[in-house]
Amino acid sequence: EPEVTQTPSHQVTQMGQEVILRCVPISNHLYFYWYRQILGQKVEFLVSFYNNEISEKSEIFDDQFSVERPDGSNFTLKIRSTKLEDSAMYFCASSAGGAGNQPQHFGDGTRLSIL
């Protein structure tokens, strides 16, 4: 069964540095998402992406964050000037359809630790 893959599985970064989290969505999916989950808390929506542009974004997704689909397969989340509170698990998800019409398939996540 096709799956969403995320790399790296764990990223340790010094505060103030930039990180890029990578995702390869399921190949025939058109909608892509980033979520974060602080340890023991709920899953928080960051951004959705469709047709090479941001579809929706939450209040969390400020100027510190950006997303890109640099080629036909990768979907990246860049966090500039990282802060301690950015430490969390970051999940990428993809779906075949949007507006909640299709299931979202999640990757295994990248655990981001900011020191």
Partner: protein
């Protein structure tokens, strides 16, 4: 802003007992999805509800969407140890934005 709350936060049951988690949205939803997350794992899609008052069943799991499309529930009959995990509802008010609930962590005691 949009909020999705779930109760209870934690639930411990003896194996074989039933379990229910309730999800309440501050605003009307277009649809709602349910996910299960095992400890250390990622959310896995369970079901989607779209219509007002909709009820769907998956073996021992029964999902319901409220008439006002602001609340939902998941009921598990005769829990098994494989049901352990955190159950999240994810509300979609419109567009491609999803508000996950606070989750209910289920522990099943053998």
């Amino acid at each position: 802003g949009q909020q999705v709350m779930q109760i209870p936060q934690y639930q411990h049951v003896q194996e074989g007992e039933d379990f229910t988690t309730y999800c309440n949205s501050s605003t009307t939803l277009s649809n709602i999805q349910w996910y299960k997350q095992r400890p250390g794992g990622h959310p896995v899609f369970l079901i989607q509800l779209v219509k007002s008052g909709e009820v769907k069943k998956q073996k021992r799991l029964t999902f319901q969407f409220g008439e006002a499309k602001k609340n939902s529930s998941l009921h598990i009959t005769a829990t098994q140890t494989t049901d352990v995990g955190t159950y999240f509802c994810a509300g979609n008010p419109a567009g491609n934005q999803f508000y996950f609930g606070t989750g209910t962590s289920l522990t099943v005691i053998p």
